[in-house]
Amino acid sequence: MIGYSLGMAVYSIVVVALYPAFEHSTSLDKLVQSDATAAALFGITGRISSSGGWLNANIYANFFPLVMLLLTVGYGAASIAGQDEDGTLCLIATLPVRRTRIVVQKAAAMALQAVVLAVTVGICVLIGRSFDLSVTLGNLTSISISLLLMGLAFGMITMAVGAVAGRRGTANGVGTALASASYLVSSLAPVASWIRPARYASLFYWSVGQNQITTGVSLEDYAVLVLVGLCAASAAVIAFGRLDVH
């Protein structure tokens, strides 16, 4: 967590510090607009030289979700399946604590790490206000929360898969695959008409894929992210309750 947060902090400061050099770059805008599909794959839509476009293109549409997911999916796979494979889960599972509570505590630990990451990035981006970046505190906070919720949802899905399969590799693989597919669908939906209907199934769409850095995160967005996270957490509780621990 510390490594991820420090890394993202440095990266974010570099991104915001570079903005003044590109805020008037019409050539960069033209480059992006000339191949909208390639740009979409990087999460870039609209004018990259705008504050929202710049932050989305460099942090919130791709890099920050990537690092968040590395953290949450990685933790989700390690916390039950990984520990079972390592042999340490039996020591926890023989404590006088209900298995439900164990899952809740692991989810809380995941959330804490994710919050630290999100807050670190948020603070670094706020520094960008002194680098000509105009982003409201409200939108910055809400997109940090929405990406946090997305990260936690994928993390809990991964934990649930791990509790069913009992294998870290399977959990990591499934979690990563789902997150990657979700990213692709959300990124390509604006430029590929046949993918557009599938965007509603993408957690990226609900957290960052509708340009929430500029428009803000709606109650509907929050509701979907929270609901998916809670369903995944319930699945993890049920699965762990039935897992044969080694």
Partner: protein, 304 residues
């Protein structure tokens, strides 16, 4: 006396493998109970079912009066567990393990853990990944005993320990039983089990082979008889006696196991003017090894 552990028809099937079949077991409170069997016999599976780490396919079990499937929290409160392949958190020191697990159990008095750590000369200030197997095992012993549980479930507890620490462990078990607590000892170390256990169960290929006191097992063990003759004697003469099986013969020296009455075989020996006759009860080691060694037909049948 209440049973500390009671299992009826306990069965566990993993896919096509029957790891445990119809295990009936009873362990009295305030005793040391030995649980023996070869590798893959089902000892660890049994322990996992008793501790509600896994769910049985059939059958039921209770520990300290609590049903294993429904009351695992109550069981875990009163049981100390040392797993067979102990795995600790690599970056945490011994002291950190003790503190963390102590807090997780709501323990506020570290004195028992402290005393145990001194007694076993536990290294407390280095990360677990830097410790040898034996030093990690000592931390595991402290974690199992430190909350003074009513029942200790110990799977290969002396694995990696030097002889001095093995002695210390045996002293600890005797003290624990003297206090009225129960120890369930699963081990390959036959000598240790013989010295510590009041009763022993032997499991093989997922099935219980026998349960008895150590003395009872010794008495029911076959007599090993060896007779030396001046001239070669046909071993078939002894094989024909009821309860006798010839285990070795090289003409004038015949070794046999006698499970029936000793009189008839002594008569046959006497008819051939023996030079020397030696008779002894089988060592428990030999007895256990005989139990362990079985035709593989039973194992194949269960695995199929």
């Amino acid at each position: 006396m209440t049973a500390a552990i009671e299992a009826v028809g306990l069965t566990k099937i993993y896919g096509a493998t029957r790891a445990l079949v119809d295990l009936d077991l009873q362990v009295e409170e305030g005793r040391c109970f030995g649980f023996l069997g070869p590798n893959g016999a089902g000892k660890t599976t049994t322990i996992r079912l008793l501790l509600a780490l896994q769910r049985p396919s059939h059958g039921r079990a209770s520990v300290l009066g609590h049903d294993c499937q429904r009351n695992n929290v109550e069981i875990h409160q009163r049981v100390g567990y040392l797993p067979g392949d102990l795995a600790l958190y690599p970056r945490m020191t011994g002291q950190q393990h003790i503190d963390w697990f102590g807090r997780a159990r709501g323990q506020h008095d570290p004195s028992v853990a402290h005393t145990l750590a001194e007694r076993f000369d536990v290294i407390l200030d280095r990360p677990a990944k830097e410790l040898s197997t034996g030093n990690r095992q000592k931390i595991g012993l402290v974690l199992a005993f430190m909350h003074r549980p009513a029942l200790l479930v110990l799977d290969e507890p002396t694995s990696g320990l030097d002889p001095l620490m093995q002695d210390e462990f045996e002293r600890l078990v005797r003290e624990t039983v003297a206090e009225g607590r129960t120890v369930f000892l699963s081990s390959h170390e036959l000598d240790e089990v013989q010295r510590l256990a009041d009763r022993v169960a032997i499991i093989r290929s997922g099935r219980l082979v026998t349960t008895d006191t150590v003395d009872g097992l010794r008495k029911s063990a076959p007599l090993k008889v060896e007779a030396r003759f001046p001239t070669p004697v046909d071993p078939i003469l002894f094989s024909l006696v009821h309860g006798v099986s010839v285990t070795a013969s090289d003409g004038s020296r015949i070794a046999m196991e006698v499970t029936g009455a000793i009189g008839p075989v002594l008569k046959v020996i006497a008819e051939h003017d023996p030079l020397d006759v030696i008779s002894r009860h089988a060592d428990l080691d030999e007895l256990f090894l005989d139990f362990y060694r079985e035709s593989t037909s039973t194992e194949r049948a269960d695995a199929g």
